[in-house]
């Protein structure tokens, strides 16, 4: 259990940011995984009253507020239209509808869990993280950084790409043994792998739309993969090109889930 002795609703983002500079503070987003980590803090900072829960479409991008829930993403008609149902498909294996109704984008992005289906999909879309102090930062960089004290305000994803994700799981709603997300745009095909089991990362970019199995096999040979209690490195390496090919086929519109 996480414990804290004080629960604060900041009225402005500045206030939230200032509170979060103390080591004794922690931001509460969806409170899904946070409660399991045994953290002991003095102050919980609740972002739910800062209007960060919107999903907005502006110009050539969508902005997903940090407090938008996974269920919001999954059921958002414009997102579904733009990305070919990728959010619904990629997020629906996560635990259950009730869970996804309170789990947030910001919580997923900030935590950078290796098993995150969310991170893999957002990486494939080359999302940018909107941070209060630092401003806009590529997710691909943010993914590699240690946890810091900046406040995630949201995520921006470019339009004009089709996306899809494919995963292997021990059973439905389980954490993935490996997940591959793909997106296809004018600059070609981008692939991200999650549950490597380390943090998700982009493993290929600018691939031709019709990249073939040999190309995926070559990528999979060099991707940093590891083993954990759920699956061995060997298994992940065998399955990686399969998921890449399937995700790629899906964004090309050749294969349904």
């Amino acid at each position: 259990m996480a414990s804290f002795s004080e629960y604060v609703f900041p009225e402005t983002i500045e206030e939230a940011y200032a509170l979060n500079q103390k080591r004794s503070s922690v931001i509460v987003a969806g409170n899904m995984w946070l409660r399991m980590c045994g953290l002991r803090k003095k102050t919980a900072i609740d972002l739910s009253r800062l209007g960060l829960d919107g999903i907005t479409e502006e110009g050539d991008a969508f902005t997903l507020g940090a407090m938008a829930t996974l269920r919001d993403l999954e059921t958002h008609p414009a997102l579904a239209r733009e990305y070919g149902g990728a959010f619904g498909e990629a997020l629906s294996p996560i635990v259950g509808t009730q869970f996804r109704r309170t789990a947030t984008v910001g919580g997923s992005v900030y935590s950078r869990f290796g098993f995150s289906d969310v991170s893999a999909l957002l990486l494939a879309l080359d999302a940018r993280v909107l941070l209060h102090a630092r401003g806009e930062t590529p997710l691909r960089d943010y993914q590699r950084e240690p946890w810091d004290r900046d406040v995630v305000l949201g995520v921006r994803i470019p339009k004009g790409r089709r996306a899809a994700a494919r995963s292997v799981r021990l059973c439905s709603t389980d954490l993935p043994l490996l997940v591959c997300a793909a997106s296809l745009g004018p600059d070609g095909l981008r692939l991200a792998l999650g549950a490597r089991p380390g943090r998700a990362m982009i493993v290929a970019e600018g691939l031709p739309a019709d990249a073939d199995e040999a190309a995926f096999a070559a990528i999979a040979r060099d991707v940093p993969l590891g083993g954990n209690r759920r699956a061995s490195e060997d298994y992940r390496r065998r399955v990686a090109p399969v998921l890449m090919a399937r995700a790629a086929a899906a964004v090309r519109g050749e294969e349904r889930a």
């Binding site: 799981r169 439905s172 389980d174 065998r238």
Partner: protein, 763 residues
């Protein structure tokens, strides 16, 4: 003769209370001001407490008591819920200085609130002398590290072959015929090893109990348990008090599946109540329920199976190595079922068998009872070996079974020499094959998307109660308006036995089901019952109910005759009234009930017992159809057909749900339930996030058919059903996977990794 109430799929008597969310479970009915009990648990797999400082914990706010090994009674006991003679060794203390697995309790804290109890736990300082740990069952026997070196360790049934100086809880052999000679004559001998692990029951309600003193200075234990009468004995033994000073009450239970056939949690709040005189409650966290509980015994089984070229199975030789963990709960008994409920399936042509076993202590979580109770493990092994034999012979595995499966009337030497008095197994095989479409689907077909669909089959049997051991009593009395109060000691754990036993009573008394009220279990009030386990309730307690109702009918007739002024022999009872044949006069049951409440009439009440020298097996055939993704190794069960012979089906709805639930638990064991322990002996599959049970998206189409036989010794021909139905999926799915891709998995679960990276073909 057709039955009126038996055979009807009526609602459970408690159904509407449960679906409307009424507070009927243990935690819901705990008294206000109950102390919260928490345990400090060992971080080491094997250690001795060198020193423990609880002074700061005792001073913490809200703390009522902090107890260590120095405060606990020194009499060893077992938490296994078994009737006399108790097979499980007396090897536990409530708190022991010697810690034998990660999670073994080091101290008990009770405080006004959960927060305060947890805060106090943090203030306890312990120094441990860490000892070498035995984590692998194969290294346990005669290891120089002894898990129970204590002088007061005690095996109550020496015939088990237990020897604490060898880390041995049981050892034995049972045989018939000359197995080596028969194997030598066989054209084909399959010799393989199979392995199953410490699966968790994962009932939704974890272990919990509260205790309180009563007005007579006795201890009341309210517990989510399957074994109230054994809990009374266990708590009294552990606390060194007379059994007469303990009363155990069982409210509604949120599932058990055998987990609650072990008194996992009761002794801790009981000790707190004894020490403080206050009500105290312990609710296991899910993590505790996954790491220090009573899972299935992990078993390693070597099967040698011999047959002639034409597919006649001649001999089975089986050895089981069972891991009982740090304590011996159910260790000596579960192992027996691995052979005694698998080998007899092939009685028909079998000339010889040998079944030998060793059960060992290790420094891992103590195992217990899980639905199937050893049969699940053994059937996975033997049924897998039979499938491997079929492939070695080039035979259809279903046809091989049709030729060799036990038939009605055959004496089963591997089942204590009992006769299969009721057995529709052949019909079950035919029905399951037909349901799944075996003829068209065996062995495999490839779908346009590259996935492979394949089928597999397995058989199962279990018992109906423990022969010569289980006993149950039922008490029934006539009440106002001609209704009845039925008291039973069997524990409904959601399975619906209160309703099923009421159906049996309504049948016997020719009354509507609504006229029977059933009382849950209270050891002060209910008649003795060994408890709800070993598939005993419908069969054993059901017989007690029939007998009690017969006795009651005689009393009703006697009372009616007296009121009518006629001879007892001339009177008869039709459920509504007693009639005098000579005069044609009738006296209604209602009038008889009123009369017994006036002076001069005897109370109309009867008690009777059930118990059986035999344990008639229910049988089942299960067929799985899987979808395998050959590029990822992912396996999904898409269809499962189960045909069950449980004798007369008392309540088809409840029997169907039992079967569907059992099948899905079996599917979980086959595919995704993966107990994981690290190199230090810590259970890492410590939550429902890390130990995955199937969700409804993993539940295939499950179809159930009943092929009833008639068991003459059972109530209205009934046998058991609860456990038999969990046993077929593991071997059926393993063979379907083999049929799909040529990979044979002998170590459960069948993960995508084992399928994808597994070696193809026979070894």
């Amino acid at each position: 003769m057709s039955n009126r109430v038996v055979g009807q799929g009526v609602r459970k008597k408690d159904a509407m209370a449960l679906v409307s969310g009424q507070g009927v479970y243990t935690e819901d009915i705990a008294p206000g001001g109950c102390l919260c009990v928490k345990l400090l648990r060992s971080p080491h797999a094997h250690a001795v407490v060198r020193s423990i400082d609880v002074s700061r914990a005792k001073e913490a706010p809200g703390v009522a008591c902090v107890l260590t090994w120095e405060d606990a009674p020194k009499t060893r006991f077992t938490q296994a819920g078994q009737t006399y003679p108790e097979f499980s060794p007396y090897d536990r203390l409530i708190l022991d200085r010697h810690l034998r697995c990660v999670g073994d309790p080091v101290a008990i804290v009770a405080a006004e609130t959960e927060r305060q109890a947890l805060a106090a736990i943090d203030r306890i300082r312990v120094e441990y002398d860490v000892l070498p740990a035995v984590l692998d069952a194969r290294e346990a026997l005669d290891n120089e590290t002894l898990i129970h070196p204590e002088a007061d360790w005690r095996a109550l049934v020496p015939e088990c072959g237990a020897d604490n100086r060898r880390n041995l809880v049981a050892h034995g052999c049972d045989q018939d015929g000359d197995v080596e000679a028969e194997l030598a004559c066989c054209d084909v001998v399959i010799d393989r090893e199979y392995e199953t692990h410490a699966n968790q029951q994962c009932m939704m309600e974890t272990f919990r109990a509260f205790c309180m003193p009563d007005a007579y200075g006795r201890l009341t234990v309210v517990s989510s348990t399957q074994i109230p009468f054994h809990v009374r004995r266990i708590v009294a033994t552990a606390l060194e008090i007379s059994k007469s000073r303990v009363r155990v009450v069982k409210p509604r239970i949120g599932g058990g599946f055998g987990a609650k056939q072990t008194a996992v949690c009761e002794v801790y709040p009981a000790l707190v109540t004894m020490k403080t005189g206050r009500a105290a409650m312990l609710v296991f966290t899910r993590e505790e329920a996954m790491t220090v509980s009573s899972p299935r015994h992990a078993m390693r089984m070597r099967v040698r199976l011999g047959a002639t070229r034409d597919g006649t199975i001649r001999a089975i030789d089986m050895h089981t190595l069972s891991n009982t963990g740090a304590y011996g709960e159910h260790g000596p008994t579960t192992v027996g079922l691995s052979g005694h409920k698998s080998i007899p399936l092939y009685t028909h042509s079998l000339r010889a068998f040998r079944f030998s076993w060793d059960v060992v202590y290790t420094n891992t979580m103590s195992a217990g009872a899980y639905r199937g109770y050893g049969a699940t493990q053994g059937i996975f092994a033997v049924e897998s070996a039979v499938n491997e034999l079929a492939h070695a012979l080039g035979m259809d595995p279903a046809a091989l079974r049709e030729a060799n499966a036990v038939r009605e009337g055959e004496v089963m030497p591997a089942y204590y020499g009992e006769t299969a008095g009721s057995c529709a197994l052949s019909r079950c095989i035919a029905r399951a094959k037909e349901m799944i479409g075996w003829a068209e689907k065996y062995p495999r077909r490839t779908l346009p998307n590259g996935h492979v669909r394949a089928v597999g089959i397995a058989l199962s049997m279990q018992g109906s109660g423990i022969s010569g051991v289980d006993t149950a009593s039922a008490a029934i009395r006539l009440a106002d308006e001609g209704t009845y109060n039925l008291s039973i000691g069997a524990t409904d754990m959601g399975t619906g036995c209160d309703t099923i036993l009421a159906q049996i009573a309504a049948e016997a008394l020719e009354c509507p089901l609504s006229a029977i009220s059933v009382h849950g279990v209270d050891t002060d009030v209910s008649p003795y019952d060994t408890g709800s386990y070993a598939s005993s309730t419908t069969y054993v307690t059901g017989m007690a109910v029939v007998r009690a109702c017969e006795a009651l009918r005689a009393q009703i007739v006697r009372a009616g005759a007296k009121l009518l002024g006629c001879a007892q022999e001339d009177a008869s009872f039709d459920g509504e009234a007693v009639a005098c044949e000579a005069s044609g006069r009738r006296v209604s049951l209602c009038s008889i009930a009123e009369a017994q409440m006036t002076a001069g009439m005897d109370a109309i009440a009867a008690v009777a017992s059930g118990g059986s020298p035999t344990s008639p097996p229910p049988f089942m055939a299960g067929c799985a159809e899987i979808d395998l993704d050959p590029l990822t190794g992912q396996v999904k069960v898409v269809d499962f057909a189960g045909a069950v012979d449980c004798g007369t089906v008392v309540n088809p709805n409840l029997a169907r749900v039992q079967t569907e639930g059992g099948i899905l638990q079996g599917i979980g064991m086959a595919l995704c339930e993966m107990p994981v322990m690290d190199e230090r002996g810590r259970t890492m599959s410590n939550s429902l996030l890390q130990y995955r049970i199937p969700t409804r998206q993993d539940a295939p189409r499950i179809r159930v058919a009943f092929e009833p036989s008639y068991e003459k010794s059972g109530p209205y021909g009934a046998k058991s059903i609860g456990e038999c139905v969990i046993n077929t999926p593991c071997a059926a799915i393993a063979d379907a996977v083999y049929n799909a891709c040529g990979v044979r998995v002998r170590d459960l679960p069948i993960t995508p990794e084992k399928v994808l990276l597994g070696a193809k073909g026979e070894p």
